[in-house]
Amino acid sequence: MAEKTTILNLTEEEFVHSGNRACTGCGLSIVYRIGLKALGKNSVLVVPPSCLTVLQGLYPVASTKLPCVNVTFASTAAAATGVRSAMMALGKDDVNVVAWAGDGGTSDIGIQALSGACERGDNIIYICYDNEAYMNTGVQRSGTTPQGVLTTTTPIKGKLQVKKDVPAIIAAHGIPYVATASAAFPLDFYDKVKKATTIHGPKYIHVHTPCPPGWGFDTRYTIKVGKLAVETGLFDLYEIENGSFSLSAPSQRLVGKKRPPVSDYFAAQGRFKSLDTDMVNTIQQQVDAKWAA
């Protein structure tokens, strides 16, 4: 197994310029910055409309130092396939071809193209940063918005449906690598992206990405809130390599330990304030049952 990356040996080379348009305290900014370090210079990005489109800069200035093609919302994975096929045609197959999309662009409008690329076995890395709603357009509910969350399209009752389990859907395609990660554990994310660059075929990484304005918490708590999601057992970090499941260290540490209650996580954010006690208890029971199994 590869050495775990540490802060001290993590490369200083940056691929994102300062002074970009990301919101203050943006979780995506953290994972993007760290993810690009893992990908390195010899990479091509494919990006659909999302917060990343704004973060990346408005014409004619780009905040990303890697080549990138912006594509239509539904087409991300297919466009990544297109870049890969061109690289194969040009004999430049050592390039990392990386789709980087939000949760709406992945779980909703983009899932058909993603499923197609996975089924074909296309040699791409697909990173979904999951901030659990359409943040770029002003916090509308998406397929991965958790149950009970207030968004601008679930403004009073909160979302009625449960969060769509996209990594499980993608894993069902039998692709060689599926992983979840969190902005609050950037080195774990770094190692997963790095690993993905060494595997042939489709790779899918789903990274939980706190969003201060969308989730309703102060900008300084981005890491705190992200950690709580993992430590309460709500969002689990794992890898599925060639069908073999393993919990990653931040989640593995929780096995057999007492976890903080999910209410700690809910209380830290404004978006859960419509949850009643019954609902919180139900969710706590679901999480407990999952971890007991």
Binding site: I7, L8, L10, E12, E14, V16, H17, S18, G19, N20, R21, A22, T24, G25, C26, G27, S29, I30, R33, I34, Q56, G57, L58, Y59, P60, V61, A62, S63, T64, K65, P186, L187, P212, D218, T219, R220, Y221, T222, I223, K224
Partner: protein
């Protein structure tokens, strides 16, 4: 007939800093590092650098001591919140801009 040059205009951006302007002006609070508490500053060793790792805007340097580029620091406070030594304090921006003048 002279050959016409086509496609002189496409939207192809070139990398550069400050697409959003000097985002330091977004700041409401400013991070101040107390070098007496800051681990690499205090020990003069390459250590910790949590603030560098977690900064969303690449404005903290991985140096001894770490420094913050205030031209672009948006003042989120993640560095202050996460500093294991409690060495970073967020102070009112207004009080600081006054000092600079």
């Amino acid at each position: 007939m002279a050959t016409k040059t086509y496609c002189e205009m496409i939207s192809r951006s070139q990398p550069g800093p400050g697409d959003g302007g000097n985002t330091g002006s977004w700041r409401v609070k400013r991070p101040i590092i107390d070098y007496d508490k800051c681990i690499p500053a205090k020990t003069k060793k390459r250590a910790c650098f949590t603030c560098w790792l977690l900064c969303p805007d690449c404005v903290v340097s991985k140096t001894i001591p770490p420094a913050i580029n205030l031209d672009y620091c948006k003042g989120c406070g993640i560095c202050a919140e996460e500093c294991p030594a409690g060495a970073i304090e967020m102070v009112d921006e207004a009080s600081q801009t006054g000092k600079e003048k």
